[in-house]
Subunit: 167 residues, 2 copies
């Protein structure tokens, strides 16, 4: 539970994973049919690997993981599958990793923002109404209509800071 490298457990307002772990198959099938695209085994395999594993992955890592199980699936196909899943509204770019690589995540019901722990690198999801409210208010004041946003906070665990102080 609290076995993260930085010694803390996940923030309590982490959104539940509302992702319809089974539902993606339905959504994908509907999308493919709609666009007159084809349900291939490769695409299915890639999608499975994506929706089984935890979020915030980069394509290169995905490629390695897919190819250990299915060596016959080429990188190009995996890139194409990721793009298709994005188009289908099942996947989205979430944030850049520390090293600047694009990370993807499954699209979930609830909107959330990210905290990257500067101590352990772990990425936490959180949702805070007060922030969202302040944001919407500020936007309206500035004459914008909100569309979407990316809010990434890079922070340190208070816990770790305390431990270090005590050293």
């Amino acid at each position: 539970m609290s076995t993260l490298p930085c010694g803390r457990k996940k923030p309590s307002n982490t959104p539940k994973n509302t992702q319809k772990t089974a539902e993606w198959k339905v959504v994908l099938a509907r999308y493919l049919k709609d666009k007159k695209l084809r349900a291939t085994t490769q695409r299915e395999r890639v999608a499975e690997m994506i929706f089984i594993k935890k979020s915030h992955f980069d394509v290169q890592t995905l490629i390695k993981e897919v190819q250990t199980k299915h060596p016959e699936i080429g990188p190009a196909t995996i890139y194409r599958s990721v793009n298709t899943l994005c188009d289908a509204g099942l996947l989205q770019e979430s944030l850049q990793s520390n090293s600047g690589v694009t990370l993807y995540e499954a699209i979930e019901e609830e909107h959330h923002d990210h905290i990257v722990c500067l101590d352990c690198g772990e990425i936490f999801e959180f949702h805070d109404e007060a922030i969202e409210d302040a944001q919407n208010k500020a936007l309206r004041k500035m004459g914008f209509q909100q569309a979407k946003h990316k809010h990434v906070i890079y922070a340190k665990c208070a816990l770790v800071a305390k431990n270090k102080k005590g050293e």
Copy 2:
């Protein structure tokens, strides 16, 4: 003034450009001396081009601009200069452009966030205390100590929306 493609003027809470347009030379010189690095003409030229032009540029564009004035300066040197300026605390990555390229900006006194206008692509800077407060409060509640954050909002001008509605 209000000649942006989307027909609006900048939000009123845009931070003033507090950047010490002259001061960067001092800061850079101090940094170089401190790290026992050398003040070369190329680095100087690149830094000049950066601090004269407006923020939110990508390296490829910078290279083209530098090379029109100083064709003898190679891309590698420009990349290296940008990295040095980042290390010196004068420059930072700010956000990704629409096409996913990393944009840089001069580090200024005041912290600010970004709004990318989905109509005209213009990048606005803004600062909102209410958002910052809510953010700090949320972080404390979750047991984090704030370090820094990137908050990018992708929004549409209310103005344009109104015009379209009237069409």
